[in-house]
Amino acid sequence: MRARLLSLLIVAGCVKGDPIDLGTFVNNGGSLAIDGCGYTLTTYPGAEAPTVALPAFGADPTPKNIHLGLMGDPKTSVVAQWRTNDDTTRASSVRFGVGANLSADQLTTTVQGIEFGYQGTGGNIYRVHQGHLCGLSAGTTYSYQVGGEDLSGTSHYSPIFTFHTAPDVSANPDTAVVLGFVGDSRGGYDVWQQLITELQSRTPDLILFSGDAVTFGITQDEWEDFFSLAQPLFATVPMIAADGNHEANAVNFYSQVAMPGDQQDYGVDYGFAHITVGNDSPDDPSAITGAARDAIAADFAASQSAQWKIFMHHQPIWSASTRHGSSTTLQMAWQPVIDHYHIDLVLNGHDHDYEVTKPLVGMTPQPSAANATVYIVAGGAGAELYPNGSNFWTQYSESTYSAATINVRQGQLDFEAFRQDGSAIPTGFTKTKP
């Protein structure tokens, strides 16, 4: 302990409000087991290996772009993420407490953070901080703030935010959860902000983002807009995302959005819903019919007992928009798996319009949604709108900006969509199961 403190003092002694220079930036990625959480954080090539934070500030350690993610069980864990106004602050910790709207002195638990840098376009190094809060109680409201302290005791912390862990539906089977669904914000941040406000008013428990947050994943400046405008929501509700073709598997995406597993193909239980996320724009396109499909199928198989099965990925399997339209590749590669495991709902973006299909099995519309899949395209979170279309599978389509909520409780799933001004888009639907 003393040796560790001494080494910290030696390193931090180099800092008097100035950036730490710890040598050449090494961006081969790496892994760090997170104490008390039961998972390992792995960063991608282009990023440093994650390290436990050091108690030192840069020129402006004010936290910004605060948002929540998930890497473990959402009933008992959450990941707080943020950047600072400088990219050189290494101090990183999260203070939190049980209850809503607590004051700073009521945040009695502190978790030391993790931080690492990643390299975007222009060779700039950006730094992200994470606090992994584990061992939480299900269905509980917490207050928290992010920031850090240096060895002199000086601290810089964010305002206090509140979040709510996922409910334990085995103990409280009557609980409903609200999932927010949105995607394709790139380049249209006024609309993005409007939809964030509308989503926030619907008090979601989890946000599902279907990809294309920015125009070029490797360029940081749009990420700044994306996260800063979403902070009122994302700082209080965790968000998980699918990789879109515009994220392009960039290190910026994987570094800033904490997600389970390999962050590409993974699954999460939330309430009575199991959400599987797939990457349909992998670096190796053969993965669509190979490793990615296998991972998705494995997740479907492992979650068969979930009452409601939701699958989110970026490019639509069924879309009548005249811009991109249906992906025949994914129809052949993934739809058989979707049908085999009776996925209730598939959430897509990519086409910047709104479309709901009739319940489908294969290419055949079904008279009811029981044992059939409804495909949703809602790629209208700000990117330039595309013309909508209609085909034999289309229940409703509209060229509009949109987001949606999915109310999930035991026995009922209710889907509602709305435009950026809050007006309801017709053809929401409800499914019930015994």
């Binding site: 609200v178 249209g188 619907r202 008090t203 279309g389 026995g411 209710d414 017709p426 019930t432």
Partner: protein, 387 residues
Amino acid sequence: MIAPARVAIALIAIAATGSMAAADDAETAADRAFRAAETAVTNGSAAAALDQFEAIGAARPITRWTDDAWLEAARLAERGRDYDRARRDLEAVIAVTTDDQLARRAKNALVRIAAAAGAEGQWSAVAAEHDRLATAILSPSGDPKPAIVELERLVRDHPDYPRAGNARLVIARGWERDGDADDAIATLRAAASAGEAIDRRRAGLELVRVLVRHGELDEATTALARVDHVDPHDRAEVADQLETARHREWWRRALWLGLAVLGAAAAIRLRRATGSWRATGRALLRPPIELAFFVPIAVVIVIVAATGNPMVARAVRTIAIAGAVVAWISGVALEARRQRGSLSRIGAAGHAACAALAVAAAVWLAIDRDHMLDLVEMTWRDGPAMR
């Protein structure tokens, strides 16, 4: 004789058992009623479901479904645009619930309804009508014009309506969808100078987009200069659209002019080769042999394209027709020239170059329609993954 205390205890136990049984009955009944109401929603009987949920909420004793039932009722009421009823149901949630997440959900919903319908519900009827008309205008089927006219009247009759800015944007979209760009532009001009700053800004940006879409580029430039306090990425996106539109307008004019020049040159050369305009006309009536090779291939390509993206299919059709025209004129000109003697190499190369230019111009003009050029440029610049 049984002691009075024992009797009293027995009576209390009997009463407690009865209460518990009654409570269990109430919970079971509420559970059944909640499921029945959910089924009613699924079956499309929203009005009946709303009544059922409210009945569960109002029933006593309070069960574990009471707060959920009020919340479900509020959602259905809001969905049915009965904001006053939704408000009452949400207040009932807050009054009974001990679940802080449910309470938060209800409070946020009250704030949302207040924003739409006014803190005292003074705009409830107007908001409901606004939403009904917006759905009619933005729905992809049907004639939006009657709804547009009604929404215009609604906004005119209620100038203080807080969502008037949103309504004006819907009106403009409706006019544009109806093919009336002038009315869409006029609506947006008015909206860009009325209402809250945020509404004016949004209307200003949308005005620029509509002006660009309809080729009013000078006015778009002026309109963009007037929009302030805009997110820099939004401004950059619109400015980029404007610059691209100018660039393409230049090319569009140049290529049409080029096609006209090439067509005139072809006509003059034919006239020289045939000796008279009448002979030129007669020559053009006979399709050249090139078409025998070109047309079957073009027909196959057009049929295959028709099975895919409709925008691509239309462009392929236009290109095929343009190609057939160029091949026809080119073939006739070559035949006429051949009848007067052999064509020099330079002449042949020049002829081929002119035909190729004509085809290239036609291809560009064909894919310029429906913003397909954006798709092609993005694919060329960033690869197929970035479409």
